[in-house]
Symmetry: C2
Subunit: 430 residues, 2 copies
């Protein structure tokens, strides 16, 4: 996607939301702290973007025994870089990531796969690794062919600029309509020692990841086993990017990659206290980045969390998604309108046609103020509710099936639907 | 929903869309032609709407042996009038419909059911029929309690104003955010004689009916058997209101009712040429009304049809809905942007994670111009495409699984996503 003319939203603090507090054993370093030991990165402008902004990023892990894990979009029209990375890479031992913005290389058929393979080969050569050790990630307009020559030129330039402080350049090279940077440099205190945890992340629209995310790259100098990397990334992606939605639109290119260099010398044993604490840190980091993506949702003003409890997991999930993706709920959120009837409507659409003729037992609370009990309106302080929905973050709580059947529980973070979402998406070909 | 300050869209001709031509044996009468024989109607302002506009409508069939059929929303939080009509009415032999706008009587619990029952009893008394012969339909804001006293006052006033030319008043009483009237007075030439077919219909937002519609009332003076009424309404609703979407939001109150008085003396025998021709007329009428609803979609500028063909019915349906409800496709439609990459994205989200590593074979054409073949971009005349998507009606054709597997086929009509949709829904509590 091409960049919008001006930033729309001020930058947010990483742990700025009440929904993602910073764990005590995690400290934020300055964004100029550089990558964890064992990693180098670069980002350059290769000419893919007509604006001349950075568009090719290269990330290399210099460890003799790197460990990694990856998650990709579940789209049935996944882009060439996703298909190639998923099928042809050693995902548990990646040594490099080649990322580009300005072109998604999606809906490009066999030509797209061949183009992706060419850039994978070139990146392998430039980084001195095997092609199967290079994961690919692209983001940008769908349907355009990848300008391979430009990418090759970018790989060459980037490979000569790789450095431990290259994460800011790499970040710039993966951004598209993002209004602000989603990047982190953390220090994590574990029982066996202190490790570093960095991330570069992009995403503002076409966001409703399923078992994956928009582009997010995470590096640590902790020494992980492959199963541990797989477990930690899998669980944390499910609790973060999978739980957020800007517009309910699954991308063709979502990719999340965790890489570990082991350069700190701190080994994370499976099922150890170290693993638990590192998992907590990764969980907090990815949830914070996911909230930042929602807050940077194209045109987003307010953001919200819907928390659904009930007797049955599938219904709870369907209800949470239906509320988060309802344009009626999202416009009410935008307008600061305490219009909870629209929540009841969205719930009803998600749990269609129950056999009983009675109204569905359904409790709704907004910012802690109960407004609907057992499917019917109850008395509440309308002025207090009207004030509560003016907040920058609004929480909706829904209980299905009456209070006695609270077993399953889920949450989805989402943005509002604003004039600017329409403007960004109707006026720019993205 | 409260009425918007000004109409947003000019009125449309009933058969004005290329997707719903008028069958040759169907003629449009003037909108002052009155109801078919055997029907009377009225609409009054009872004070439910603060604007003082009409809000209570009464429709009565005076036939000694009326025949009817009904369809309702499949929402799990269906409104009280839907629950009561579905469970307590003789839906195959209705003699009256009581409809109100300004209050949906949804999310109102047992109190809402009792309130609905009171108005049903009052309407029965006023019309001189049994309560089980009176269907109820409400539309308006969800969560407000029905102002029963106002409705009773309205029933009393309406019952004294019932007349054969009352359909325009009835129509006004069921409208909410509608920018223009969706009403029809038709004459249908059948082999056994000529019959009348009228309809009053409302709907502009919260529209993605599932096995039902927004409010739509159809009257004919043909003499139908109950099974025939059931069959015709069922098939025609599935091909019309079920195939359209403004915002993908299933309403709590969708209701469609077909009533036949038999006053014409033309009896429709099952499986006769008469049945076929009447079915064609009803089909054309309901499809034309559905398109009018989409064209009147809150803030709608352009409307579109997505036509999906492929090997498997479930996938075809999922893909058509995904495209029609995609905010990215809808904003591109609004902006007149030939951004077919977003169609590929929506298709991919609907058919997730195929086993094969190859791109999904997918053909896309816009306004007859092929742009994507077997999942990859092909050469096309970009200027011609850019002109084509400026039309008021845009058609997208999608073929799944390559050209050899074209078996299932479906269509969905949908509106664009505009600034005005956000304005209507963010600034007015509806």
């Amino acid at each position: 996607m091409s960049a919008p003319p001006t930033p729309r939203t001020p930058a947010r603090a990483l742990f700025g939301s009440r929904w993602t507090p910073r764990p005590e054993h995690v400290s934020e370093l300055g964004l100029d702290a550089g990558l964890p030991g064992g990693f180098r990165a670069a980002g350059v402008a290769s000419g893919i973007k007509p604006s001349g902004k950075a568009d090719v990023g290269l990330l290399v892990c210099d460890s003799p025994s790197p460990v990694s894990a990856a998650r990709f979009t579940s789209s049935g029209t996944a882009a060439a870089p996703v298909l190639l990375s998923r099928e042809r890479c050693r995902l548990q031992a990646l040594r490099a990531v080649l990322a580009n913005s300005g072109c998604a290389n999606a809906a490009t058929g066999r030509r797209g796969l061949e183009d992706a393979a060419k850039t994978q080969g070139a990146a392998a050569l430039a980084a001195g690794v095997q092609p199967a050790e290079v994961a690919l990630a692209s983001t940008g307009a769908i349907s355009h062919e990848l300008p391979v020559d430009a990418v090759l030129k970018g790989i060459l330039a980037a490979s000569s600029q790789l450095r431990g402080e290259g994460d800011a350049d790499f970040q710039r090279a993966i951004q598209t309509t993002d209004a602000f940077e989603k990047r982190a440099c953390l220090q994590v205190r574990l029982p066996s020692g202190t490790v570093r945890l960095n991330a570069q992340c992009k995403g503002a629209g076409m966001i409703s990841p399923g078992f994956a995310t928009m582009l997010c790259f995470v590096q640590t100098d902790a020494a992980l086993q492959a199963d541990t990397a797989e477990l930690l990334l899998g669980v944390c992606v499910k609790r973060s990017f999978d739980r957020c939605s800007v517009d309910g639109q699954l991308s063709t290119n979502d990719t999340a990659i965790l890489m570990s260099s082991g350069a700190s010398g701190v080994a994370i044993a499976p099922e150890s206290e170290d693993e638990l604490r590192l998992g907590e840190a990764l969980d907090a980091l990815l949830r914070a980045l996911a909230i930042m993506m929602v807050a940077d949702g194209e045109g987003a003003g307010r953001i919200a969390r819907v928390l659904v409890r009930g007797g049955e997991g599938e219904a709870v999930e369907a209800v949470a998604r239906a509320v988060a993706n309802s344009p009626l709920v999202k416009t009410a959120l935008h307008g600061g309108d305490p219009n909870w009837g629209r929540i009841v409507q969205a719930v009803g659409a998600a749990i269609r046609s129950p056999p009983a003729p009675a109204p569905v037992a359904l409790d709704v609370a907004i910012e802690g103020i109960p407004v609907c009990s057992s499917g019917a309106a109850i008395d509440y302080d309308a002025d207090a509710l009207a004030r509560a929905v003016q907040a920058q973050e609004v929480e909706y709580e829904i209980a299905l099936g009456g209070r006695d059947s609270i077993q399953a529980e889920t949450e989805v973070f989402f943005s509002d639907l604003s004039y600017d979402y329409v403007k960004v998406n109707a006026e720019y070909t993205t």
